[in-house]
């Protein structure tokens, strides 16, 4: 096991599947570390990220989209967008990727025991929220109500589609899905996620709201959470910015005086509301 911060660990892809299709398709990778020592010593919590990559192409910072409660493997849901993510999409079961991390802070999820949790996601922004949902599911008796609000442009753009049905069967848990424009046979909400949030109309009483999605969606969700009287310190979001090192050296991921890679990616709105670049 290496302790060098820039030498990645190898992980073998155990399974892959597509969440969405098209030019900017999203592919999920389930991977396991090759080195037993790394596998045993690795710990992460919901909200954290990892630098994953393909040797010879590069690395990208990607949210870890599984909860540690799911087992000794990692999941990453990657949208095909740039050079590295295109190379990652070439990987199939049995191929190797590189992983270093985990990086960043996590949702203070253990401090939220006894509280209700509502996640509000848009598009690929559901990836960092999924581990929260899975973590709370695994320890459901320790939490209050779990509400999942999630939307995408079309039903084909929704990630983790197969998992929502199960949520409905869990005690004190519900989900609300939306698509931006009307589709034939769509049984759920039609409209943008911030509007769906108002329909769901959650009470701020003993409730933590977590949101992630495109910057424009986060902006409106925050405004609506304020309309619903959520106090700043009960609102959390997770930010993303371009990153290279992941460890606070390369400079670029700052939002104001905060480095997303080290100070974040998870921030409470109480912190972010004073950071002028946070939602740029």
């Amino acid at each position: 096991m290496n302790t060098h911060p820039y030498i990645p660990n190898f992980a073998t892809v155990q399974d892959t599947w597509y969440e969405t299709y098209g030019d900017r398709c999203i592919k999920t990778f389930k991977v396991g570390f090759d080195d037993e020592e790394v596998r045993d010593s690795w710990t992460h919590l919901p909200g954290q990220c990892a630098m994953i990559g393909v040797l010879g192409t590069g690395e990208s910072m990607i949210s870890i989209s599984c909860s540690p409660t799911e087992g000794k493997f990692l999941r990453f849901s990657v949208m095909r967008a740039g050079k590295v993510t295109k190379a990652l999409h070439e990987l199939e079961a049995g191929d190797k990727m590189t992983v270093r991390g985990p990086y960043g802070n996590n949702f203070p999820i253990d401090e939220w025991k006894g509280k209700n949790i509502i996640t509000i996601g848009g598009g690929i922004g559901q990836a960092p929220l999924r581990p929260v949902i899975e973590y709370v599911r695994a320890k459901k008796s320790e939490y209050g109500e779990l509400t999942v609000v999630y939307g995408a442009r079309t039903s084909a753009d929704l990630c983790f589609k197969g998992e929502f049905g199960e949520l409905a069967r869990i005690e004190n848990t519900c989900y609300h899905l939306s698509v931006d424009v009307k589709e034939e046979g769509w049984p759920h909400y039609v409209g943008f996620v911030p509007a769906l949030l108002m329909e769901v109309n959650p009470s701020p009483e003993n409730t933590i709201a977590i949101t992630c999605g495109p910057p424009i969606m986060i902006n409106f969700v925050l405004q609506n959470l304020k309309k619903l009287n959520f106090p700043d310190d009960q609102i959390y979001t997770t930010l993303e910015n371009r990153m290279k090192c992941g460890i606070g050296k390369c400079g670029r991921c700052n939002a104001g005086n905060l480095y997303v890679c080290k100070d974040g990616p998870v921030f409470s709105y109480a912190t972010l509301k004073n950071v002028p670049e946070a939602f740029a």
Binding site: H4, P5, Y6, I7, P8, F10, D34, L55, G56, T57, G58, E59, S60, M79, A81, G82, T85, K96, P214, P215, E240, N241, R242, K244, C245, I247, G248, K249, C250, G251, R252, N254, A255, G256, N257, K262, P276, E277, A280
Partner: protein, 335 residues
């Protein structure tokens, strides 16, 4: 202690097992490069064009080497002992500032190994440039911050001031090459140093800048300042406190390397998301970030301004953007 200039070659030759870097003219560019003889040194000129950060944080360096389909990753060889000979006090202070970044949280092995293995022999800045403003940024032309040894040019000799154990090692190696400095030598050095301090004409009080910056976030001042900016990045490349880097993989045949190169917050690609979204889409936002980073964010994190007043960004900007002019606009009554 004193070193006669005719003994300089012997002094350098006596340094055991260390690679010596000093200011050397490469074409038209003065920069720190490895020297083999004293004659290569250019110690009379003003500060180097390229700051000596290039020795401890090279413009491009290989971080990892690997072969295609292999699972064996090699890191670069650990750096040997080095001496930076003739570094100006501002650049030595800058290294102390950058040390904060590379040792914050996770330690950066490449940079910190070179820093640990380096001895900084300073040369007092007796003839500051017209755009130097080190005294406003907490330094001075004869500041000893970060130095192991300070040399003051007395004409025919250098007065040596030993500042650390590392500096002491060099003096011990030099042995009889050094002679005792007389009271008159010390007085002469003091006079030269005082004269240099007076020559720093450009001054600013940065104490109010950080407090003023938040209120100026949406100010038209950033548009005005950045209107002439070409986005060439020279202000950041040649800044001794700028530390941003990019990481890229390169492949030739079956051999690949992961390398890092200096990057600049003045480039649009620096913050460009893969989605096409850019949180700093124009030079207005990028200029605003550069100033806020140096005079506010860095101060929040490390309690020090990320500027040493070396004047390079002023001297080399192709469109005469002047950081002191920016600071004076930030706090109208400051200059």
């Amino acid at each position: 202690m004193k070193l006669n200039k005719d003994k300089l070659a012997d002094f350098l030759a006596a340094i055991p097992g260390k690679t010596i870097f000093g200011p050397q003219l490469c074409g038209e560019t003065l920069k720190f490069t490895a020297i083999t003889k004293a004659g290569d040194l250019c110690l009379t000129a003003n500060n180097t064009n390229v700051p000596p950060k290039s020795v401890v944080f090279p413009q491009t360096e290989t971080m990892l080497r690997f072969e295609q389909w292999a699972t064996d990753i090699k890191t670069a060889e650990p750096a040997g002992e080095i001496v930076l000979f003739g570094i100006k006090p501002c650049d030595a202070r800058a290294m102390l500032i950058v040390d904060n970044v590379f040792s914050w949280g996770v330690e950066d092995p490449y940079y910190l190994t070179r820093r640990t293995n380096s001895t900084l022999v300073g040369l007092a800045c007796l003839d500051p440039c017209v755009n130097c403003f080190c005294t406003s940024m907490g330094g001075g032309p004869t500041s000893t911050d970060g130095l192991d040894l300070l040399l003051t040019d007395l004409g025919n000799s250098y007065l040596l001031e030993v500042l650390t154990g590392k500096g002491e090692v060099l003096c011990q190696a030099a042995g009889k090459l050094l002679c005792e400095a007389s009271g008159a030598d010390k007085d002469a050095a003091k006079l030269l140093q005082e004269k240099a301090a007076v020559q720093i004409r450009r001054q600013i009080d940065p104490s109010g800048v950080q407090a003023r910056l938040p209120a100026l976030w949406e100010s038209p001042v950033w548009e005005k300042i950045s209107a002439s900016c070409l986005g060439c990045g020279i202000c950041t490349y040649l800044c001794p406190t700028c530390h941003c880097f990019d990481m890229q993989d390169e492949t030739e045949g079956v051999e690949s390397r992961r390398c890092r190169t200096w990057d600049s917050c003045m480039f649009s690609e620096y913050t460009l998301h893969a989605s096409g979204h850019n949180p700093r889409p124009t030079r207005r936002e990028r200029t605003r970030n550069r100033i806020n980073h140096k005079f506010s964010y860095f101060v929040d994190k490390f309690k020090v301004i990320a500027c040493v007043g070396c004047g390079r960004c002023i001297n080399h900007c192709p469109v005469n953007i002047d950081i002191l002019d920016i600071l004076s606009k930030v706090g109208e009554d400051v200059l």
